[in-house]
Every structure is written in structure tokens, then in C-alpha cells.
């Protein structure tokens, strides 16, 4: 049973790798070869150079880095405020934060495009990243985590002379590390794999096009060179795959911390 | 109604030997207690009878059948877990009914049996509640009820009282014994509490580090422990175990020399060939504080327990002695020097200091 399921999951990836190493003519062969006896590596270099995948990877990396750090920063401070500080209308404002979870991005797409264009951010990293610098779900999760820390911790810190920032970064955050890791993972995956917004907000030059859109372009321009297209997907997936293998445990723990309420 | 036979049963978890060459017979209808400290393997033994763990060696038989390869659900055993393991999403009634449903028993009969069992355990008013709404004691009764409902051949109980508070524990203890005697079901009961074991068991099997130390009735276990482990584990306070050397006294008779004096060798061992050093087992109720006693000790503390008093004293080499005396007698004060004598020489036991085994009477 386990092996059957493994096959179903892995076959597409395996075939992709195999095909990326074959000549296009061989790929169309019936039956298709199961193992590249004479691997041809130029598909990868073609994808990289002609497909500009190097540039796209860089762009994706920059955009993702901006979004992840932005989301983490805004979430950390907001969650701290909601968990530990008192201010008028706190309840209402929290509900406002939560309500953003109810509005899927696609619903705001139309106007956001107009806004971004008006701000002159079309085809810039600003336009690509700023709309995503905050997350209601993340604030909810992290606030939950903070609330679960022992209440007298904050009081003890206050007596010891800790101000808000120091308490937040020296005590609260380290204790809430699993949740922060979870947020970082969610955030990273979401940002890297984004498709619709980059599609709509990047122009035809390579200034900020991300690797996901780069794939679309590769597919269009290399229609017959299937091996090149597939090599492109491997290149696009490679960074995440490496991260998965290295941070496997944290990734799983991170994704489940959010799921198991 | 069944017997349980263990023949050279062993179980390992990785490097750790949990159960080592266990051979034991459980008599039909008896309540056998598996007693031992935490981690001694007693729960593992229980789980192997249930079929939740498989032995690495040896055979287990329930009745005439060797059950090593039999699935838990085909073994006709019922288990009460330490955590109760109630189905949290089902009502009490459904919890009780669950084993019957799995056996395909039809509804009218199920309802009748559940009703009877609920009645006998005073659960009738709680039938529509869920486990989360019940107190610890109530949950415990539901766990018991679920085990009873099937009228299995064997009951397995894994420390069912350990999560209850002290008063409830005493009450429930008696209820379980009464229940078991009424149903006459062979029961294996695991606990680390020797009071529970002594008050409940028809026989007790003492286990340490996976090895069976002794199996006997509570009385026999108390009076004649086979080794120092059993001697020290049972009784409150446990038997005093004092190292001594064997020497020849002034009049040629054998004496046992302690750090605070000497006493004559016990009559039961008079003609025995004793080693040079022994460990002497003195029950705290068999010795007394007496001005003519041969042993000198310093009182450390006196514990008042109501009807009796425990005098805790030390010989000058640091060996600890506990003396039980009636509360009406004056108790020594802290730091006071006292003399102790043996009141019942017949109950003194001798143990080998290397192996820990009790020396046989000649």
C-alpha cells in the first residue's frame, strides 16, 4: 500500500526529471524510456539562459524575502499589541484584522491593480510585495501563542525593568518560536508560489518577473522543447526542495502548528 | 473464567529488557496483583496478555489456548486502562455499549445489559453525559462498566486507581474486590502501591526490572519474603534491613553483631551454617524500645500516625531503624538515646548480603 501511494506521488516528479534529460524526439517515443541512458544536459542550460530562469529565481527570492520579513515584522508587533497591550477599541480592531481572512485576494484584485498602477508601482518590487505585507491569520495565530504563555511572565519582566521591545524580542518571541517558524513557513510558501498577482503586475521585461511566471513564458516559447520546459520546472522547484529536505522537521511542525488549532 | 499461563515469556524494547523469562500461573477466578516499582515491566506483562504487545519469547496461554498469535479482539479479555481510555465523543451509554455493538449483539439485549451494568455501578443518571462532563471517579466507573459489559474470561486492570484522590481510592478498591468476587472472573491487576496489592490480591506477584521476584498470598509474602527487594517493598513501614556480622558470643552461641550492639542468632536459624555477614530483617512491629534492649540507637524523629507511632532511629553507623509502638506509650524525643530489643525472635529473617536472597531455614 505504501509503495503504491509512493508511486502515485513520485511518478510525475520522476518522469519530469527523466524527460528533462532526454532528447525531445525520444520523449515522444512510445513507450517512453524509463531511464535516460544518455542524459542530455543542455536542456537545463537552455532553460537557464534562454529562459532567463536565473533572473527569475533572483526576482522570486527578492520578492519572497521582502514579503516574509514584512509579514513577520508586522505580525509580531501587532500580535504583541493585541495580546499584551490595552488600548481603546482593541476588540473591534482585532475583529477587523480577522475579517481580512474572509476577503480572498481575488476579490480585491481589480482595484489593487488600479491602485498599484496609480502609485507608479506597476512592474516594481513595491507593487509586487506591498499588498502582502500583513496577514490577519498570522496575527491571530501568534496572538494565540502569546496568550498561552504564563501570565506572570510579563509581570516578572516588568519588575525586572524590561520595556515592551525587550520583552517582546528577548522573552515572548523565543518562547513562541514554533509558531513564528510556522508563520515563516506559511509565508514563504505562499510568497514563492504566488501566480496570479505576479502575472498581473509584472510587465514584459525581466525587471521583476518571478519564476512562476517565468515558467509560463518558458512553456510558451519552448513549445516543442519539452525537455527544456521540464528542466525549467525542476529548476523552479529546486530551491524549495532543498529547503524541504534540510528543514524537513521544522517544516512539518510549522505547517501543523497552524492546522491543529 | 479461565486460567492464564506464562511460560518463559520475555519482551525487549530495543536494548531494554522489559520482561525477562517470566513463568507464572494465574488460577481461575483469582485476583492476581502484579506489584512493582515504575518501569519494572508489569504493564508490559498485562499488555501482552491483552495482545497489544507481542512477546519476543515464550508462550502465553489463556485457558487451553496459546494466544501468542491471537488478535486482541479474539481473546475475550477486557481491559481497564490507567487513563480510562473512554471514547470522548460518545455518551456513557454508548461507551458501555461499544463492545457489545462490535460483537454484533442486537439492540434490545444491548440495552438490557447496559442498563444492568449502569445500575450496578450507579451510572444510570449519567448515561447521557459525555466523559468530559464526568468526574474522575465517575469516569473510572464507566471504564469498569465497559469492561464488565462483555462478561469476558479475563479482566486486566492497569493501575485503575492511580488517578483518584486518596479517599475515593479506598472506597473504589473495596468495590472492585467485591465486584470481582461476585463475577468470579480471573483478574490480573497492576499497581505500584503495595497497600492496594496487599488489600486486594488473592495472590501477589512481585516484579522488579522485568524479573519475577516472588508470587504468594499477601500473608506469606509479608511473613516470608524471598529476598530483600520483596522484604523492603511490602509493609508500611517496610521491614528494617540491617547489615550485621556473624560472630561467636561470650557463651559460645552465635550472635549477630550490629553497629549498636548484638543479639542472639534467631532460633529458626540456630543450627544453620551462617556466612560471615548477613542482612537481618527486623519487622518494625517485632522490635520495641526498651531500657534493657541490647541495641543502642539515637532517635531521629517520631511520626505520630494516630493509633500508633513510628519511632525512626539510627544506629551509630547510620543504619536506619523504624520501630512501631502504640501511641499510648511515651515516645522518645528527638536526639534521645534509646535501647531497642527484639520482641519476637521467631519473626527475624536473615538474608544473604550479596544475592539478597533469604537464607533458608535448615
Amino acid at each position: 500500500m505504501l509503495s503504491v501511494l509512493t508511486l502515485i506521488v513520485l511518478i510525475p516528479l520522476y518522469v519530469t526529471v527523466v524527460n528533462s534529460l532526454l532528447q525531445p524526439s525520444l520523449i515522444a517515443h512510445q513507450p517512453p524510456p524509463l531511464f535516460p541512458v544518455h542524459p542530455v544536459w543542455n536542456a537545463y542550460s537552455t532553460a537557464w539562459t534562454q529562459g532567463d530562469l536565473g533572473i527569475y529565481l533572483r526576482n522570486s527570492a527578492i520578492a519572497t524575502a521582502i514579503i516574509v520579513s514584512g509579514q513577520l515584522l508586522t505580525t509580531i508587533f501587532a500580535a504583541y499589541a493585541f495580546a499584551y497591550l490595552a488600548f481603546p477599541f482593541k476588540r473591534t480592531l482585532f475583529v477587523v484584522f480577522l475579517s481580512t481572512m474572509m476577503i480572498p485576494f481575488e476579490v480585491t484584485l481589480v482595484s489593487n491593480l488600479a491602485t498599484v498602477t496609480q502609485l507608479g508601482w506597476y512592474n516594481t518590487f513595491a507593487g509586487l510585495t506591498v499588498p502582502f505585507l500583513a496577514t490577519g491569520f498570522g496575527t491571530f495565530l501568534l496572538r494565540q501563542s502569546f496568550l498561552q504563555l504564563p501570565g506572570d511572565l510579563r509581570e516578572a519582566a516588568q519588575l525586572d525593568g524590561y520595556g515592551h521591545i525587550r520583552f517582546l524580542f528577548r522573552i515572548a518571541l523565543p518562547l513562541a518560536r514554533p509558531t513564528v517558524a510556522a508563520l515563516a513557513v506559511f509565508s514563504f510558501l505562499g510568497a514563492w508560489n504566488q501566480y496570479l498577482w505576479p502575472l498581473v503586475v509584472t510587465g514584459d521585461n525581466n525587471a521583476i518577473r518571478t519564476v512562476q511566471i517565468g515558467l509560463k513564458q518558458l512553456q510558451a516559447t519552448q513549445a516543442n522543447q519539452v525537455n527544456v520546459t521540464l528542466a525549467g520546472t525542476i529548476i523552479a522547484a529546486a530551491p524549495l526542495l532543498v529547503l524541504l529536505i534540510v528543514f524537513q522537521k521544522q517544516l512539518v511542525r510549522g505547517l501543523t502548528a497552524g492546522a491543529v488549532k | 473464567m479461565a486460567t492464564i499461563e506464562f511460560a518463559q515469556v520475555s519482551k525487549r524494547f530495543g536494548e531494554v529488557v522489559a520482561v525477562d523469562d517470566l513463568t507464572l500461573s494465574v488460577v481461575d477466578g483469582e485476583l492476581l496483583v502484579l506489584l512493582g516499582p515504575s518501569g519494572c515491566g508489569k504493564s508490559t506483562v498485562l499488555r501482552m496478555v491483552a495482545g497489544l504487545d507481542e512477546p519476543d519469547g515464550g508462550t502465553i496461554m489463556i485457558g487451553p489456548e496459546t494466544v501468542n498469535d491471537v488478535e486482541p479482539r479474539d481473546r475475550d479479555v477486557a481491559m481497564v486502562f490507567q487513563s480510562y481510555a473512554l471514547y470522548p465523543h460518545l455518551t456513557v451509554a454508548r461507551n458501555l455499549e461499544f463492545p457489545l455493538r462490535q460483537r454484533g449483539i442486537d439492540r434490545p439485549e444491548r440495552e438490557k445489559t447496559v442498563g444492568e451494568v449502569a445500575e450496578s455501578l450507579q451510572l444510570t443518571e449519567l448515561l447521557s453525559r459525555k466523559p468530559a462532563e464526568l468526574s474522575g471517579g465517575q469516569r473510572q466507573r464507566v471504564a469498569l462498566g465497559r469492561a464488565i459489559v462483555r462478561r469476558p474470561s479475563v479482566f486486566l486492570m492497569d493501575e485503575p486507581l492511580s488517578n483518584l484522590d486518596a479517599a475515593l481510592r479506598v472506597e473504589t478498591r473495596a468495590n472492585i474486590v467485591t465486584l470481582q468476587q461476585r463475577l468470579e472472573t480471573t483478574t490480573m491487576y497492576v499497581t505500584h502501591d503495595q497497600v492496594e496489592a496487599m488489600t486486594m490480591g488473592d495472590r501477589i506477584a512481585v516484579i522488579s526490572a522485568g524479573v519475577l521476584q516472588q508470587v504468594a498470598t499477601p500473608r506469606d509474602l509479608y511473613a516470608l519474603p524471598n529476598n530483600v527487594f520483596v522484604a523492603a517493598f511490602l509493609g508500611n513501614p517496610p521491614m528494617n534491613l540491617v547489615p550485621a556480622t556473624v560472630a561467636t558470643g561470650g557463651d559460645g552461641a552465635t550472635v549477630l553483631r550490629f553497629a549498636g550492639g548484638e543479639i542472639p542468632s534467631p532460633p529458626a536459624y540456630r543450627s544453620a551454617d551462617l556466612p560471615e555477614a548477613v542482612i537481618v530483617g527486623l519487622r518494625s512491629e517485632s522490635i520495641a524500645v526498651h531500657p534493657d534492649g541490647p541495641l543502642t540507637a539515637t532517635t531521629t524523629i517520631t511520626e505520630v500516625l494516630g493509633a500508633e507511632v513510628h519511632v525512626i532511629a539510627h544506629l551509630h553507623d547510620g543504619t536506619r531503624l523504624v520501630v512501631r509502638q502504640d501511641a499510648r506509650r511515651p515516645a522518645p524525643r528527638r536526639g534521645e538515646l534509646i535501647r531497642i530489643r527484639v520482641e519476637e525472635a521467631g519473626s527475624v529473617l536473615l538474608f544473604d548480603p550479596d544475592s539478597g536472597k533469604r537464607l533458608e531455614f535448615p
Binding site: 506521488v9 488600548f87 | 471514547y87
Partner: protein, 306 residues
């Protein structure tokens, strides 16, 4: 002379509170700003924009038409087909995704040696994006260079150009891509099912299937419900795989889900923000309604641990 000013303690108190409030507001200001500009404003703007129609001629200003446009769009056959496609798509993707994830999780939930490798493999699709999955499967389903003829699937027209099968094909690609996340979520849920309750069920005579249905599934129900709600919302937002697999032919192929329709009205040949806004509101309402229906009817059967 020293007066004890009875007013001072009170004022110091309120200064501290005021400071704390200011810090609080400062901390939540940045995200609130982002939300206001990029979530709430656009959402509300939809309602206004829906009332304006943009003529299909370039550089012509849009004119106010009131609810006329909304009525026109919502009753158009294009919208109704899109709605059907979206619902069908969701009906295939969500239950299949849940079931597949659960199956994987149960299969990998054993204390075997090396089970960790299987768990990594099963979570691996979490690193694929819809774009990656779409390109991979798009290649497989290509009539010329793909794998399908070898597997004996020889539909005519080929899968991704076939109005009968295209939606199913795209849905299956979506399920595959989501296997990793589904597996991870279900695995986490399975961890939370207490072992001793399952053992009790085993002793009570329940077969593995009975244990699964009567113990595991009820105790998993909170996670299943969570996955259902999240999965549905996510399915409604699917876009990338549609764009890459069926692209501009989506209307003909019945794969024109709502998000794609919205996209076409933003970056098609004749961009019509008014129509896009109407569709966006429709998408929002649908998502909201589905979530509420699920909360109302499905959550009843979920057992939450205390």
C-alpha cells in the same frame, strides 16, 4: 509646605495608560494601513466600480449604468457556465483531496523503521506550486510528446482540448499538487488521536475498519472540518493551473472558473473593470455563503475535545 496632591496619582495613571495605548496603536498601524489600502478599500471599491461600465473602445471613459451592469453580468450565460465550472471543480477537488490526504496519512502513521522517508515523500508536493504542477502535467497530457497514449488514454480530441474531460484533468492536477499539504494536515490530526482509546477499541472487539470509522474519524473531525473549509475556499480561488493548462480556451473547455473570468476582464482584449468588480463580489458572496453553510450544517457533527 508639602501638600499631598490627591490628583497626581490619578494623572500619572492615565499618562501611563495613554502611553501604552499609543504604543499599541503604533504597533498595529502598519498592518492596519496595508489592510486598509489593499484589502478593505479595494473590496468596497468593487461595489462602486460595479456600477460603471467601460465601453470596449480604447481610451473611452467609463459611464455610470447603475445596477444594470450587475444584472446583465449575473444573468449572462457566461457567468452561469463559469459558476457551474467553479462548483463542479470544487466538488471534485475538495473531497478527493481530503480523502487522498487522509489515506496517505493513515498509511504513513505506523511505527515502522524508515517510515520517515515515506513521510518526506508524501509531503513533497508541498514544494510544487500550481504553476509547476500545471507545466509538468501539461507536458504529460500533450498529445504529441505526452505519456497518455502510452497509458492507453487516447481521447479525441486530446484531454486538455476536450470539453468533456478538461475540467476533470485540471482538477486531478490540482489534487496532486495539494497532496503534500493535505497529508501534513491529516498527519497532524492523526497524531492527536490518543493511542489508548484506539487500543481500548481493539480490545473491545473492533476491526481495523470499525476502529477507523467509529474512533479515528470522529476524533479527527475538527481537522477534517478545518481542511474542508480551507480547501473549499482555496478551490474557489484556483487560477494558475487553469491559466497554464487551458488558458484562453477555458470557456470552450468548461474550465472557466470565476477567478479566470475575473482575470479575463482585467487583462483580456477588452478590459472591463466594472464587470470584473461584479464578478469579484459574486465570488466573495459565494465563498462566504459556502463557508457559512459548512459552519451551520457540517460543524454540528464535529466533535471538539474539551
Amino acid at each position: 509646605m508639602t501638600f499631598v496632591d490627591l490628583h497626581r496619582p490619578l494623572r500619572r495613571f492615565s499618562t501611563r495608560r495613554r502611553r501604552e495605548a499609543l504604543i499599541g496603536y503604533a504597533f498595529i498601524l502598519p498592518p492596519l494601513l496595508v489592510f486598509s489600502v489593499f484589502t478593505f478599500y479595494p473590496f468596497l471599491h468593487n461595489f462602486k466600480q460595479a456600477l460603471y461600465e467601460t465601453p470596449p473602445f480604447p481610451n473611452q471613459p467609463s459611464r455610470y449604468v447603475g445596477l444594470h451592469q450587475a444584472g446583465h453580468v449575473l444573468s449572462s450565460s457566461q457567468f452561469l457556465q463559469s459558476l457551474t465550472s467553479t462548483i463542479l471543480f470544487t466538488l471534485i477537488v475538495v473531497p478527493l483531496g481530503l480523502f487522498a490526504g487522509l489515506l496517505l496519512a493513515v498509511a504513513a502513521h505506523r511505527r515502522l523503521r524508515g517510515i520517515g522517508i515515506y513521510r518526506t515523500i508524501f509531503s513533497s508536493t508541498v514544494v510544487t506550486s500550481v504553476a509547476i504542477a500545471a507545466v509538468i502535467f501539461g507536458t504529460f497530457m500533450d498529445p504529441v510528446v505526452g505519456l497518455l497514449p502510452w497509458l492507453g488514454i487516447n481521447t479525441s480530441p486530446p484531454l486538455l482540448e476536450n470539453p468533456t474531460w478538461a475540467l476533470l484533468a485540471v482538477a486531478l492536477v490540482t489534487v496532486w499538487q495539494g497532496l503534500g499539504l493535505s497529508f501534513i494536515i491529516m498527519s497532524a490530526g492523526l497524531q492527536s488521536v490518543p493511542d489508548d482509546v484506539l487500543e481500548a477499541a481493539e480490545i473491545d472487539g473492533a476491526s481495523p475498519a470499525a476502529r477507523f470509522w467509529h474512533v479515528t474519524v470522529p476524533l479527527l473531525s475538527p481537522i477534517l472540518f478545518f481542511a474542508l473549509v480551507i480547501g473549499t475556499i482555496s478551490a474557489f480561488q484556483s487560477f494558475g493551473q487553469i491559466d497554464l493548462l487551458t488558458g484562453a480556451n477555458s470557456a470552450y473547455l468548461h474550465t472557466d472558473v470565476l477567478t479566470y473570468l475575473i482575470y479575463q476582464n482585467i487583462q483580456g482584449q477588452a478590459p472591463n473593470p466594472g464587470t470584473a468588480s461584479v464578478l469579484s463580489i459574486a465570488l466573495f458572496v459565494m465563498t462566504l455563503m459556502l463557508t457559512l453553510i459548512q459552519l451551520r450544517f457540517v460543524e454540528l457533527r464535529v466533535h471538539y475535545a474539551q
